[in-house]
């Protein structure tokens, strides 16, 4: 690929005229093709966070239990007993639109590597997915490919996929979101970092061979799609979960020795970003001899090797006296192992290939002079609070519609394609509790894991929506009895060069920050995906939150399935907030109004009360009240436990379908005690009904059999995707 390097080529690589000018100043000459490639990917939105960095810095990231916050491959928190949880969520949105199976599969592979790179064995995967209008054939094809891809990869590597969420909305027609989260466990004194050290130490490449796939993937992920999106298919990588499995085992085996000085996976921008970041963080130079890079294809140029995003590869700096120990482990696992360079004291990255110097760049300016933009922001105008809405449907018909609609129907069809029992530690499976509960092998301790965001709230009021996403993650963890510890955030937004979009981003961060602070729930890792728009149509702003909590005793976890003979108690205040509710959208056909406000003090008070009741063993089942409101929450509890319920008389559609925040439904044998303690704690609570039988008796006397409700709830996905009844 002999091409003249000039401003036109720089623009093709995604660099602006100003940015190219800065490259010329740093280099003091016209860069080579390889050098321009390196600058363009390192300065891409995806790798440099140039639009988002100023805002991300304002997020709360500290707590006594945080071991490593943002800036490493993943966040690390202390979970007790000398262990750390290592976790992060990352997007693979653009590739998943172009090639859904491989896009989603490699998204899972990439986030797994971010976690085991730090010395953690992955124990759980989750995914937060957003798709377009189900009426479109394309949406169906994307759902099918994404679900198969996530399953195909996760099932093969042997990490259980235990939770997640799915929304549908036409705003995602051209830009589905695939956010994958991995959680791993490590000895908290043995966390591996990426800062290179030790002049002369060998730089070692392990894993799969390098091919021509994924070249400039990071650049693709940093631009809007036009009509030609599908022509970008060659920039999507292809995953090999078998090799990933080998890589996990080999790396963890090597990490049990003292051979590794630093390690990083080759993710976006592959060899370029891993080598630049490792050397940059360590304040050293690095020299690579590309002739030693294991190659899958012949005749690859330096530019192609540096920009390839071939999957399942890692870069390590080893102690020279342990090099052969490491080689033996990788040979045992039949993986490529190659010394491709060494650390230098020059502070430069030097790339040699076939006896030529193909790149020679000073590392400090590459990092420090990376563009940073304070992009203009425009506030989203506040929406007026929704006025009264006439209920023409009635409670029963509305429940039947809501329980079967794409956003609320059962996700069984999805999770039945994911292996969620592997590992033998899954205490609460998908569909059993508000957060997945995964026990730590050989211990009583367990983690509670969830992903959450309500994009329609964020669109209507980004600040409230940002706070709500964090609060809902906290609430879902709390509803199992676990103590919420920290979050990872995956900020999916449209084109940041548009002030309205940047305003959404900034306001979401403000709302998230307030919630993180009020709930002692810091951000420890995250990822930003911008330019999620196609032909000018933006996605709903989607700050997806991945939450992690801990339970000292897995046996204390509660799910939301009802059993007979219990009383139902509602905790939290109900005003009947229908603005932006699913009832308003699905039943009244309107998407409007201000979203429900999030009272963070009440959130904290209510949640701490609920968790206390659960840990005291007084709660048999608990469910947070979220999408669809109170009646939907009770219906979900009834189906999960295959036990009916009779609700107290009274209340209108706003009461039963409003989406007021900070609420939980508890099932207990001791309603009087719960109500008395709630009152003493200043927490609103009221008796809601009782459990038993095979019917749901609604507050207006209407009844629905669980069999009918289940049929409605389970029908949509199997019928839509496979043309069969559930």
């Amino acid at each position: 690929m002999a091409r003249d390097v000039n401003q036109a080529l720089a623009r093709e690589f995604g660099l602006s005229a100003d940015e190219y000018q800065r490259v010329l100043e740093i280099m003091g000459r016209t860069p080579s093709l390889t050098e321009l490639g390196i600058f363009s990917v390192m300065w891409s939105e995806h790798c440099s966070y140039k639009s988002s960095r100023v805002w991300l810095k304002t997020l709360p990231t500290k707590a006594p239990w945080v071991i490593h916050g943002p800036g490493e491959n993943a966040g690390v928190v202390d979970i007790g007993e000398g262990l750390a949880a290592v976790f992060k969520m990352e997007s693979h949105n653009h590739p998943s639109f172009i090639e859904p199976y491989q896009g989603a599969a490699t998204g899972v592979g990439g986030i797994l590597r971010d976690v085991f790179t730090m010395g953690a064995r992955p124990i759980a995967n989750l995914n937060a997915l957003r798709f377009g209008d189900p009426k479109l054939a394309r949406t169906k094809r994307i759902v099918d490919g994404v679900v198969r891809g996530i399953g195909g990869y996760g099932n093969c590597v042997g990490v259980p996929t235990v939770g997640g969420e799915i929304n549908f909305h036409p705003a995602y027609n051209g830009n589905p979101l695939v956010n994958a989260m991995t959680v791993g466990i490590a000895d908290k004194t043995k966390i591996f970092l990426s800062a290179a050290a030790g002049i002369g130490n060998p730089v070692v490449y392990v894993g799969s061979k390098t091919g021509r796939d994924g070249i400039h993937g990071a650049t693709m992920a940093s631009a809007e799609f036009g009509k030609d999106a599908e022509e970008k298919r060659p920039t999507v990588q292809v995953g090999d979960p078998f090799v990933e499995k080998l890589l996990i085992e080999a790396c963890l085996e090597l990490m049990a020795t003292d051979a590794i000085v630093a390690i990083q996976d080759m993710g976006a921008a592959g060899l370029t970003s891993s080598s630049v970041e490792m050397a940059g963080k360590g304040g050293v130079g690095i020299e690579l001899e590309l002739d030693h890079v294991p190659q899958r294809e012949t005749g690859m140029s330096a530019y192609e090797m540096m920009l390839s995003e071939s999957q399942e590869r890692m870069l390590m700096v080893l102690r020279p006296d342990r090099q052969e120990v490491a080689r033996a482990i990788f040979e045992k696992w039949e993986l490529d192992f190659a010394v491709i360079g060494h650390l230098t004291e020059t502070g430069r990255i030097v790339i040699k290939h076939k006896g030529q110097v193909e790149a020679d760049i000073p590392l400090d300016p590459l990092a420090e002079q990376a563009p940073l933009y304070h992009r203009p922001t425009e506030e989203t105008p506040k929406q007026a609070r929704l006025g009264p809405v006439a209920d023409t449907a009635g409670l029963g018909p509305a429940l039947r519609t809501l329980m079967g609609c794409p956003d609320l129907c059962s996700r069984r069809w999805v999770w039945e394609q994911y292996d969620y029992t592997i590992g033998g530690q899954t205490v609460k499976r998908p569909g059993a509790a508000d957060a997945a509960i995964v026990k730590l092998e050989g211990r009583t301790r367990a983690l509670a894991l969830t992903t959450d965001c309500t994009p329609r709230y964020v669109l209507a009021d980004p600040e409230v929506g940002g706070a709500q996403a964090v609060a809902e993650a906290w609430r879902n963890i709390t509803a199992t009895g676990a103590l919420p510890l920290a979050i990872t955030d995956n900020m999916n937004f449209a084109n940041p060069e548009k002030p309205r979009i940047m305003g959404q981003f900034a306001a979401s961060i403000r709302g998230m920050s307030a919630a993180c602070t009020a709930l002692d729930f810091p951000v420890v890792s995250g990822n930003v995906s911008l330019y999620n728009e196609t032909e000018g149509r933006p996605i709903l702003p989607t700050p997806a939150i991945g939450g992690l909590g801990v339970l000292e005793d897995a046996a204390q976890a509660v799910g939301y399935g009802l059993t007979p003979g219990l009383s139902l108690v509602l905790v939290g205040a109900t005003e009947g907030w229908l603005g932006q509710s699913l009832w308003l959208r699905e039943i009244a056909g309107r998407e409007e109004g201000a979203p429900p406000p999030v009272d963070l003090a009440a959130e904290r008070r209510n949640g701490d009360f609920v968790r206390g009741e659960i840990l005291a063993g007084r709660v048999a089942a608990c469910h947070d009240v979220a999408d669809g409101g109170l009646l939907v929450a009770v219906a979900e509890m009834a189906l999960a436990g295959d036990t009916g319920a009779t609700l107290e008389r009274g209340g209108d559609a706003a009461y039963w379908y409003g989406e007021d925040q900070g609420r939980y439904v508890l099932a207990t044998t001791d309603a009087a005690g719960v109500l008395a303690r709630a009152q003493a704690a200043g927490v609103p609570a009221r008796l809601l009904g009782s459990t038993g039988g095979a019917l749901l008796t609604l507050p207006d006397g209407d009844t629905i059999s669980l069999a009918e409700l289940r049929r409605l709830h389970e029908a949509f996905l199997p019928a839509w995707m496979d043309g069969r009844a559930s």
Binding site: R148, F242, L246, E416, Y418, D419, T421, G424, K439
Partner: protein, 230 residues
């Protein structure tokens, strides 16, 4: 009982299996790396679930050709006990230790769900702690578990009493609805002629602890541990 779990590079349920065996036997099994060739001293050889060599084409086909299979065949020929679960079942079939084939699931999707298994024979070393005709729950998680064999092979397996488990409803009826992967005659698990080599698709090893939802799978491990206790 001395049990060994064979670990091919892409096997991924070896720890689940080790936990289940240890729960019943009281001691940890030996992990046997696939390049080893000596299985002497083992009473039970287990091939657990996973994707032995990635298994992108025919599941278990590459593992069946690996050197350790010679040792496993010899162990079986000596009358030793072998248990293959999921990928392990696929490998035993590909290696010719059990008859038939495991095809893509009907519906062509990976299936991860609890199924119910009817115990067709409770007089084998693997099933004595179940009752004849008992139905128990087991998680399944596979893409290629659709058991297929020629009608005469199926007749012979049934005639010789070598069908050990069938997919059933919770009340024990053998119906198409209970047979999500589409297996011939609802077959979930079969044994060798001497009933000492057992292969099945579902994962009893993932249901041996009330905390994970039940102990339905535990009698299988209790059975084999009791049979081989010495």
């Amino acid at each position: 009982m001395k049990a060994g779990i064979v670990v091919f590079p892409g096997i991924n349920r070896e720890r689940d299996m080790a936990i289940a065996l240890e729960r019943s036997a009281g001691h940890a099994p030996r992990m046997v790396w696939h390049r080893e060739s000596d299985l002497s001293g083992l009473d039970l050889v287990v091939i657990p679930g996973g994707f032995s060599y990635g298994d992108y084409l025919r599941c278990g086909a590459m593992a069946a050709q690996s050197p350790i299979m010679g040792a496993i065949r010899a162990h079986a020929a000596r009358g030793g006990h072998v248990l293959g679960v999921c990928n392990g079942f696929q490998i035993l079939i590909e290696a010719g230790l059990l008859p038939g084939a495991l095809l893509r699931n009907q519906g062509l999707r990976f299936l991860a769900m609890d199924c119910h298994l009817k115990v067709e024979r409770a007089d084998t070393d693997f099933t004595r702690h179940y009752q004849q005709g008992e139905v128990f729950r087991a998680p399944m998680a596979h893409g290629d578990g659709n058991y297929f064999a020629a009608p005469e092979t199926l007749d012979r397996l049934e005639g010789e009493g070598r069908v050990i488990f069938r997919y059933a409803t919770p009340t024990g009826e053998i119906t198409p609805e209970a047979n999500r992967n589409g297996s011939q005659r609802n077959i979930a698990g079969i044994a060798s002629e001497n009933l000492r080599v057992l292969g099945l698709m579902p994962h009893p090893e993932d249901l041996v602890d009330p905390l994970m939802g039940g102990e339905d799978g535990k009698p299988l491990f209790d059975s084999i541990c009791a049979a081989l206790a010495a």
